[in-house]
């Protein structure tokens, strides 16, 4: 296997985004007839590298070689013409079209270039589904399928292109265990046919099982690349995280205050039965950092949304400072001292078109208002102070927030939350999409705020993060709290086990983001 031909290689790949270096002189080979595994933490550059290969993004510098000749993919179409197929992490499907239409989108089978040959498409789709051992009807609307089934459609779409090189970016994130087995059989079959597969996943044991070659990325650099023989989980983790494990600014010693926030029997029904948040109760003390760990879809973000009055149907009671938190509006809850830093900066946390100043003050304009007149000078002064306190690197607070790097944007969002003078800070994936340096700063800020007496509740899918940052850890799975650990005595394996409660088979250790 170690002699397999190289189908595509990348040399000296560098990709610069405004404010971040996503790829730094990366060399990467895709061997045909094998599974090339790519692994790294969130933001390590895996997806960027794949987007470059698939023609979605172009390199700032460096080159792509196919069969020894340099290639330039200006679009996905060009990459596809060279036999490169990709299954994206985010599903790229049209919910209002049928399965067959989705599979052949952009490459419709036609008679004479005009009339779509629906029958032939349907037959081909059915064949692909048989190969994937699924009974999804070609005429079913994609929007009516489960997420797992949609992922199967996405895989079928890539298979239908007969790609020589097939990139799979976290193909199993929404699949159940038996579906994963089927996918692995398909992968084995493709490998026999000489297809070069690039496989990206966070589930390390899965990688070791099916991979032939492994490449580890960290902060845009390759930190390890070898054949899979003899690779074990500790080796991967060591290369992913680095020898000097990230310094998450250890606890500033301080006493916790009284209980400031509590949730009592919170329930949020799910559409189509069941519970998204299932009888959740917990308490938070002043100065305490509580991390909520869980897999995607465990109901963590929804819990935060309940606290933020986004779900009027939710039942149960929140209490802040002993008084029930029953304000029906977001503004009311912000005024009571709850601040949310949402998961998705672009669509929830910021208003990209507005300036840094306007974003920061949006949640507390009342502080600068007399009667109805907005005191712009006071606003500017306040923003300037916070920009300095949080060490946000901005050229001018009047520039649009979209000109900042992810880490700096996140700091603006934190500044916006702090401006409302919160008692309790809710942070949903506070380190998503920001680089290591900014991450450390965000974590230090969290520590400092806790020491100043804020209660902090944060959600993360990063095991290391939750272990090193939390005074207490809550684990959620399927909407329920399935484990509670003190930060000092938390055990990795126990946390992971708790996060998988209620999921079909219980894998021993499964990190997932």
């Amino acid at each position: 296997m170690s002699t397999s031909a190289i189908g595509l290689s990348i040399r000296g790949a560098t990709k610069v985004y405004p404010g971040t270096l996503a790829l730094d002189a990366v060399d990467f080979d895709v061997r045909l007839g094998s599974v090339n595994v790519l692994v790294g933490e969130n933001g390590a550059g895996k997806s960027t590298l794949m987007k470059v290969i698939a023609g979605v993004e172009q390199l700032t510098s460096g080159e792509i070689l196919m069969d020894g000749k340099p290639q330039h993919f200006a679009s996905t179409g060009e990459a596809a013409a060279h036999g490169i197929g990709i299954i994206f992490q985010e599903l790229n499907l049209f919910p209002n079209m049928t399965v067959a239409e989705n599979i052949f989108i952009g490459r419709e089978r036609t008679r004479g270039g005009i009339d779509i040959d629906a029958a032939s498409q349907r037959a081909a789709a059915r064949e692909l589904m048989t190969r994937l051992e699924h009974a999804i009807e070609p005429d079913a609307l994609v929007g009516e399928l489960r997420i797992g089934e949609q992922q199967i459609v996405e895989i079928a779409k890539a298979l239908s292109q007969d790609a020589r090189i097939l990139i799979m970016d976290e193909p199993t994130s929404a699949l159940s265990a038996p579906e994963v087995e089927i996918l692995f059989r398909v992968i084995a079959d493709l490998r026999r046919r000489g297809v070069g597969i690039v496989y990206i996943s966070h589930r390390l044991e899965e990688l070791i099982r099916i991979g032939d070659w492994i490449t580890v990325l960290r902060d845009g650099r390759i930190t390890g690349s070898r054949a899979m023989d003899g690779v074990d989980v500790p080796w991967i983790v060591r290369n992913m995280i680095g020898a000097a494990s990230k310094d998450y600014a250890k606890t500033e010693e301080h006493e916790f205050g009284a209980e400031i926030f509590s949730a009592e029997d919170i329930c949020l029904p799910r559409q189509g039965g069941g519970m998204t948040v299932d009888h959740v109760s917990f308490a938070l003390r002043a100065g305490e950092i509580v991390g909520i760990y869980g897999l995607m879809g465990a109901g963590r973000s929804e819990l935060f949304e309940c606290i933020m009055a986004q779900h009027p149907h939710a039942t149960g009671e929140f209490r802040l400072d002993g008084r029930p938190l029953d304000e029906a509006s977001v503004a009311g809850r912000i005024a009571r001292g709850i601040a949310l830093i949402p998961e998705d900066r672009k669509t929830q946390g910021t208003i990209q078109i507005m300036s840094i100043r306007e974003n920061m003050s949006l949640a507390c304009l009342r502080d600068f208002t007399r009667l109805f007149h907005l005191d712009l000078a006071a606003e500017r002064a306040r923003v300037r102070d916070l920009v300095r306190d949080l060490a946000i690197k901005v050229a001018s607070p009047e520039n649009p927030i979209s000109s900042l790097s992810g880490g700096n944007q996140q700091k603006v969002v934190i500044g916006k939350a702090l401006m409302t003078k919160p008692r309790v800070l809710l942070m949903d994936e506070p380190s998503r999409g920001i680089d290591v340096g900014a991450k450390a700063e965000v974590f230090r800020t969290m520590r400092r705020l806790a020491a100043e007496g804020l209660g902090i509740l944060f959600v993360t899918s990063d095991l290391e993060e939750v272990m090193s940052l939390s005074d207490r850890i809550l684990v959620m799975s399927n909407g329920r709290i399935t484990g509670e650990f003190l930060g000092s005595e938390a055990d990795e394996a126990a946390i992971v086990a708790a996060s998988a409660v209620g999921h079909a088979p219980t894998p021993s250790r499964e990190a997932h983001a």
Binding site: I334, Q348, I351, L365, T369, G437
Partner: protein, 354 residues
């Protein structure tokens, strides 16, 4: 973490100048058309002509102010033209017939009361738009298209398609001053122009210096983000549609008073001119961006083009073509400005070394 970033740090004098030019483009266009007609059309610069011109512009400008707020929130209000028509008919009805209480009495109103009632009618139609959009989740385009037809139909029904003529009012009821709205003024300047000036100042103040104004921009920029920041999105939307209806009612009053008659077809396609003025002034149809001052300048560009071309004797068919081209050109230039602005901000950020 500073890789080969695209040549930062150099001062951007050229860009800054170009950006300034682009920002002031509507204003520059205004000066250009003004200068052109001042030379090409005789009598264009006379004081009398200026007042007439401003009077023409003021109607569209008042509508465009309301429209600008709606568009900034990411919506659209197609019903303003019909509201103008309906409000004119309401005013005409009140002046001529009052309200019959069905018990043998008819209530007549004085001019001031008529104005209040008509403004209220405009705001109620706006509130219906807002209700459809915020509570029943109808897309703004469809909701206001619906009210466009309904309001126009009601206007036609009110007079069976006819005109309410001779709205001189009755001194006995205190409504004889109704004609003064359109006919008289202050310091030789008609009320319609004063109204435009007052509304412009109020709206510009609202946009720049009040929390409500900031919220309007926030809702248009990112509705979900605004909601999570505690902005009461529905209230903001309700306000902008009601304000737009209010502006339309003002125009309805002015027109019926100026003509001393109200006709149910008044105001047809006014909504398109209002949208054109807003877009010409740099308001983004995707929401979040736009300025009242820009809108006013846009309304003047359109108005001067129309009046000037008439004075030069250019066919009105050609005027329509020219108006369309100007709008398209404005949006194309706007795109260029956005791109340049973004790249300048990015370079400033890159110059910080990160």
């Amino acid at each position: 973490m500073t890789p080969a970033a695209p040549s930062p740090a150099t001062p951007m004098g050229g860009d800054a100048f170009l950006l300034l030019l682009l920002r002031l483009r509507t204003f520059i266009a205004l000066i250009a058309v003004f200068a052109f007609f001042a030379m090409a059309a005789p009598n264009f610069l006379s004081a009398a002509n200026m007042v007439i011109l401003a009077k023409h512009v003021s109607l569209n400008a008042i509508l465009a102010i309301g429209m600008t707020f709606v568009i900034i929130t990411g919506g659209i209000d197609l019903s303003v033209g019909s509201i103008v028509g309906l409000c004119g008919m309401v005013a005409g009805w009140l002046v001529l017939y009052g309200i019959d209480l069905q018990i043998g009495y008819t209530v007549f109103f004085n001019t001031f009361e008529i104005i209040l009632i008509v403004l209220l009618v405009g705001m109620v139609v706006g509130a219906i738009n807002g209700f459809l959009i915020t509570r029943l989740n109808v897309a703004p385009f469809i909701a206001t298209l619906g009210t466009l037809y309904v309001a126009r139909g009601l206007a036609l029904l009110s007079s069976d398609g006819g005109t309410f003529a001779n709205l001189r009012g009755n001194a006995e009821y205190g409504s004889n001053s109704f004609t003064a709205i359109g006919a008289s003024g202050l310091l030789g300047v008609p009320w319609s122009i004063w109204t435009m000036v007052a509304l412009t100042c109020a709206a510009a103040y609202l946009a720049a210096r009040t929390p409500l104004g900031r919220h309007i921009y926030a809702v248009g920029g990112n509705e979900r983000g605004a909601a999570l920041s505690g902005v009461k999105v529905n209230r903001v939307k309700m306000f902008v549609y009601m304000f737009s209806g209010f502006c339309a009612a003002i125009v309805g009053l002015i027109i019926s008073s100026q003509l001393v008659a109200s006709h149910p077809a008044t105001g047809e396609t006014f909504e398109l001119n209002a949208i054109a003025a807003a877009v010409l002034g740099g308001t983004s149809m995707s929401g979040g961006r736009g300025r009242i001052a820009g809108t006013i300048v846009g309304a003047f560009v359109i108005g001067i083009l129309a009046d000037g071309l008439v004075m030069m004797g250019v066919s009105s068919f050609w005027q329509t073509v020219i108006k369309g081209l100007v709008i398209i050109a404005a949006v194309v230039v706007d795109q260029a400005q956005q791109r340049l602005q973004a790249s300048v901000a990015l370079r400033q950020q890159a110059a910080l070394g990160k």
